[in-house]
Subunit: 331 residues, 2 copies
């Protein structure tokens, strides 16, 4: 059945029934009124919003509907992770062509609902409308841990800090290239690369761990490692030096993309890993406490021009072709 046969209100009813009743007792009013309402204790609240547009951020050829839904939520949860926060609520604004299959829309929502359940996020509202292309804008609301005002910001990096990343940046970019080019790798590598691109896991627990260990500066890697590190440097008015030798490159990326692995690790976006900075002592504690790989890849230096320098094993600057993903700019 097409969404045009079901109609807007029929579709809203169908989706509202799919969404589990929130177990959050602070919620007063969820889906179905002009706004959602919930109680809050005296706490620091967080909000973030991100959109995915068809043929800009995703292609329906490489991204199944269920993965698309999960990813639209994951990119927002990742922003809450980069603040060290606890995600609590989400509102979903969905635009769909009239000839979209209802089964595809419910698959998309299954993806959202499953990831939301995993992180105990309640879907409390949204908007559904017709449009020539599919787009999803999700806004996530959250709070800081323990009612304190401790948050991770982009502006708190200081000269002398170590720069570290969780996981293996570049793996999502490799996954996208594999899917787009219909490249054939061995099944295990293919599954790892596909998952990195289609099912990024927001580093919520890790963000909270960073705050708990005293880390002050972090960002999530959405635009690409160097581009996102540059955001931190600009906001903190410092520079950074990254050593290619230290970059944690996923074995499946190295095995299948060889020399291009480095470019993927530096410039590939959509990893949704965390990049953060801290003094050596704090960094040692984080590495000890973290359940996921944490790799120091460089350091923060004094630089009023906020440059990010990438050097090879011998300390020579590496030319970079691709500094990250920027919308609008002509190639």
């Amino acid at each position: 059945m097409k969404v045009s046969e079901l109609g807007e209100f029929g579709l809203i009813d169908l989706l509202a029934k799919m969404i589990p009743a929130p177990r959050n007792k602070q919620l007063i009013l969820g889906i179905g009124d002009d706004a959602a309402a919930w109680r809050t204790g005296a706490a620091t609240q967080l909000v973030t919003t991100d959109s995915l547009f068809q043929d800009v951020h995703f292609s329906l050829i490489t991204t199944p509907w269920e993965a698309l839904g999960a990813k639209a939520l994951a990119v927002n949860l990742s922003d809450i992770a980069a603040m060290g926060g606890v995600p609590e609520y989400a509102v979903v604004s969905l635009a769909l062509p009239a000839n979209t299959e209802v089964a595809d829309v419910t698959a998309l929502y299954r993806g959202i609902i499953e990831l939301a359940g995993q992180f105990e996020v309640a879907i409390i509202g949204g908007d559904t409308c017709r449009a020539p292309l599919v787009s999803i804008t999700i806004t996530v609301l959250g709070r800081t841990v323990n009612q304190e005002e401790k948050i991770l910001t982009r502006s708190a990096a200081r000269p002398g800090d170590r720069v570290a990343v969780t996981g293996c940046p570049g793996t999502a970019a490799a996954g996208l290239e594999m899917l787009t080019g219909e490249l054939r790798f061995d099944p295990e590598a293919a599954a790892q690369l596909r998952d990195a691109f289609l099912h990024p896991v927001p580093r919520i627990a890790e963000g909270q761990l960073l705050v708990g260990q005293g880390v002050k500066a972090a960002i999530d890697i959405s635009d690409g490692l160097v581009a996102d590190l540059a955001h931190v440097c600009r906001a903190s008015r410092v520079g950074a030096r990254v050593e290619t030798e230290r970059l944690p490159i996923h074995p499946a990326v190295k095995a299948n993309f060889g020399n291009r692995s480095l470019e993927m690790a530096l410039g590939g976006g959509e990893d949704y890993e965390l990049l953060f900075t801290a003094g050596a002592g704090t960094m040692a504690k984080v590495k000890e406490a973290a359940a996921c790989p944490v790799t120091v890849i460089g350091e923060i230096v004094a630089d009023k021009e906020s440059r990010v320098i990438v050097v090879d094993a011998s300390g020579r600057p590496v030319p970079r072709d691709k500094a990250g993903w920027e919308h609008f700019k002509a190639a």
Copy 2:
């Protein structure tokens, strides 16, 4: 200059500079990080989200960029008004074709900023990306008045309640028809109709007044008077009876659209007036206290099938061709 020449980060910088620094002292972190953060006292929070898509919700032929920005915010503020709440924060997700003029984008933001200033709403974040068509999704966060949990809901209408509206529903639809058809009316009427469509004023003060006077049930008129009253009836499991003779039709609509005025008042969307229900005593107090026109147009009746019946002066049901605006459904 085109946004493609400025680039995503250039555009974000430009817009961030336009947005006034929030005077709200509860804000910890605004635009420029992964999420925005603010303190909150123990209160009931509200959230709502709404999208406007080019050629679905607006045409750039009839809607200037500045009006578009204001309207994208107004439709969300109207949802907060329909809860009787106080809007506080907004996040703006904007999609633009690469060849959009930067001057048009800044005009759009001027519209958002001016209306936000008028209602003391702080713009604290957002997202900007490239897309084939213009779209704006705004999420507004707010709270209830006086830290109480009193809110206006769609589900609180009771048999015997009077049904009332603020202002003159149908005026926006008349304005749209005038602009689309390039109809020529006398300048004063034309200005009134144009404003009703392009510059709807969210009924924030009125919503708060309703809560203060003890009203429990309300909705804003976005889909059309009958369609929105039907939402209230379904949520409250009641029916409603509307008398055409009592409908407050704007003189400029009556003068220029004659017999079609009734259809516009009943079915025309985008008025962003409030429709609410209350007992006769409460209704009398509201009419006394309100600064804007408040007109009783009918009553709530017991009806398990939640029908909205429209009757003429002699009590005969009026056939309706157009029950309101619904996305997706084939015409």
